[in-house]
């Protein structure tokens, strides 16, 4: 297998975008072409989950490849629920690593706010098992609520810990121009004050309003290329060194151990092994915090902290910018936003930016090893990526 490098980055604001979804995708692609200093690619992958259902656009990749005038390059849309982004990066990685292509563009894009919030909730709920979950009216927040209650009872995670994740990520996003929410929040406002229950009501107890990410539109793009192309470019050499993926049962109630996210554990192991690094070598990570509880659990399952102790590391301040292992310096899904198909690419975008040293006020000092975890469904399909700075 050849080595694969990230040579171009592009991103739109994650917010409410009033453009066709293909245009949102193309914008990110255009910025990446400019960043990479190239005008053609060999192939395009577009990660997206809802274009057919929400935006009446099927064959999204075919629309985008033409919008960017990249025809006759081949193009495919990759759908893997909220893990579409990292899955598309994995496909791009395989295309370059195998020698089939030299330069591949991977875009993640989503336009969820073309429909109202109710329809967006319904859409995301289609990830659940049709016979044993969907008929009960379960939503993803409901799944997270069921999971959070178990975690709280088993490991002592409290609402305060969840609120701390939200406050941390909102603070990080203040330095991220493209983040959806530039909204500093305080523990007093969302938890302690007498009015906290109105400010931060329960959505699926024990989860509250500020424990769930917003509904966002947005696009992100990474151009992957072979070593030969990357060296010619003259930019910092950031390599996509490891990819890992694992699946688990579709129905959440069939999981072996209800408080385990085995797919995260296995995918992370693969990604680390391929890159030849351990969790302790990682300097910066973007974990999938669609719900604040997930950041805590994933930080344990990928190996940063022992199982059941992620919330203690959070208490000690280890996971905020300036701490030992900053998690979600971009603001995470909670504050940066979660356009479902774009998220995986957005996470990788942040990591590559960090490893290049171009993250401005949210730069993690001397970051050379970065990691992302993209969580699909409710833990039944997870893709992890490891990036390494080579020069």
């Amino acid at each position: 297998m050849r080595e694969v490098y990230a040579i171009g980055l592009g991103i739109t604001s994650f917010t409410r975008l009033e453009y066709p979804v293909a245009e949102i995708a193309a914008y990110a692609g255009m910025m990446a072409l400019r960043d990479a200093g190239i005008r053609e690619v060999d192939h395009l992958y577009v990660a997206n989950m809802g274009a057919c259902r929400l935006n009446h656009q099927s064959g999204l990749a075919s629309a985008v490849v033409d919008s960017l005038s990249l025809t006759p390059a081949g193009a495919e849309t990759i759908e893997n629920g909220p893990a579409s982004g990292a899955s598309a990066l994995k496909q791009g990685f395989m295309a370059v690593a195998s020698g089939l292509h030299d330069v591949v563009m991977v875009i993640g894009a989503e336009r969820m706010r073309e429909v109202n919030n109710l329809e967006a909730t319904d859409f995301v709920a289609t990830l659940t098992h049709p016979l044993s979950e969907h008929i009960y009216g379960v939503t993803l927040p409901a799944m997270a609520g069921l999971f959070t209650r178990l975690y709280m009872e088993k490991y002592g995670v409290t609402e305060r810990h969840l609120a701390m994740v939200a406050v941390k990520n909102h603070a990080h996003a203040m330095d991220n121009f493209f983040a959806h929410l530039h909204e500093p929040i305080t523990l007093a406002g969302i938890l302690d004050s007498p009015e906290a229950l109105t400010n931060n009501p329960y959505i699926a107890d024990p989860l509250r309003f500020y424990d769930a990410c917003p509904v966002s539109d947005g696009g992100a793009c990474i151009i992957l290329a072979s070593q030969e192309v990357a060296r010619k470019q003259g930019k910092p050499l950031v390599r996509l060194a490891g990819v890992g993926q694992a699946t688990d049962t579709h129905a959440v109630h069939e999981r072996e151990e209800p408080t385990d996210l085995l797919a995260v554990r296995r995918a992370a192991e693969q990604a680390f092994r391929m890159a030849g690094v351990t969790p302790q070598d990682v300097h910066v990570a973007e974990l999938h915090d669609a719900f604040t509880i997930l950041e805590i659990v994933e930080s344990e399952e990928v190996g940063f902290f022992p199982k059941g102790q992620g919330h203690l590391a959070l208490e000690r301040g280890e996971t905020r910018l300036g701490g030992r292992l900053p998690i979600n310096p971009s603001g995470g899904l909670k504050a940066k936003g979660h356009p479902v198909g774009a998220t995986g690419v957005g996470q990788a975008h942040e990591i590559v930016l960090q490893l290049r040293g171009e993250a401005g006020n949210r730069q993690v000092k001397d970051a050379r090893v970065g990691f992302t975890c993209n969580f699909g469904g409710f833990g039944n399909n997870v893709v992890c990526l490891t990036f390494v700075r080579e020069d």
Partner: protein, 249 residues
């Protein structure tokens, strides 16, 4: 004579107790004051409401147009027993809520207009309005309708409002829903939040002036898809501009 005509045209208001101002801490830690305004302050509010008449999404245009009319009606003494409450954050206008006392026992809720993005401001303001009808005016029920599906979900469904479809609401004659005293008492600990009295400095700031909202809802940049590519609210053009200022390529 003008004075006699005015006496006929102007409804006689029933004396109504005023809303004791209260304050609450919002999610970001800032404090919001909710207080009642009198006729003299209405001209200060109107320009901020007028801007929202042009925001053609999320029902802002219809709600803002109606609120504007209701505020003018109050100001010009052409609506009987109307009240207006405003929510202010650091003096800036954050929400306007209003309604009317129909009779001793029944109230008519008009609108809740939020001028600060972040839905919770609307929730606090709506709750203050219900508190006014129930606790301050001592009424037995309040009739409510909603223009938007979000409003419907928040009020009709969340508070389990009773259907009172035989009552034509003053807002367009639509079938009304009712918050009864029973429902209010059941939801009291959720609905009646906020603290009194308001600290001196906060109240003084709020009373000094109603300031322009810093981040109100805005109309979209350009409605026409074909020409929209020339503007770029995706933020990427701004990023390039920022990069250019920093000296990056």
């Amino acid at each position: 004579m003008a004075v006699d005509l005015e006496r006929i045209l102007r409804p006689v208001d029933t004396p109504m107790p005023s809303f004791p101002p209260k304050f609450m801490t919002l999610a970001g830690g800032e404090e919001m004051v909710i207080r009642q305004v009198e006729r003299e302050e209405i001209p200060d509010i109107l320009p901020h409401v007028e801007k929202l008449v042009h925001v053609e999404r999320d029902f802002y245009d219809i709600v803002a147009a109606r609120v504007y009319a209701e505020l003018l009606g109050y100001h010009c003494h052409r609506v009987q027993d109307e009240y207006v409450l405003v929510a202010q954050i650091d003096g800036e206008l954050a929400a306007v809520v209003n309604g009317r006392r129909m009779n001793a026992d029944q109230g008519m809720s008009y609108h809740t207009l939020s001028l600060r993005r972040g839905l919770r401001v609307g929730a606090h303001a709506f709750a203050a309005k219900m508190e006014y009808h129930m606790d301050i005016l001592g009424q037995k029920e309040v009739f409510i309708v909603a223009e938007s599906p979000i409003g419907f979900r928040r009020w009709m469904i969340e508070y389990k409002l009773e259907k009172r479809f035989e009552v034509a609401h003053e807002l367009g004659g639509c079938p009304s829903w009712s918050l009864t005293r029973g429902l209010f008492e059941a939801a009291r600990h959720d609905l009646v939040v906020g603290r009194r009295p308001v600290p001196e400095h906060l109240l003084a700031k709020a009373k000094a002036a109603i300031l322009k909202p810093s981040d109100p809802p805005r109309p979209p940049e350009d409605l026409l898809a074909a020409t929209r590519s020339q503007n770029d609210p995706t933020g990427t053009a701004l990023m390039l501009h920022a990069w250019a200022l920093e000296g990056r390529k």
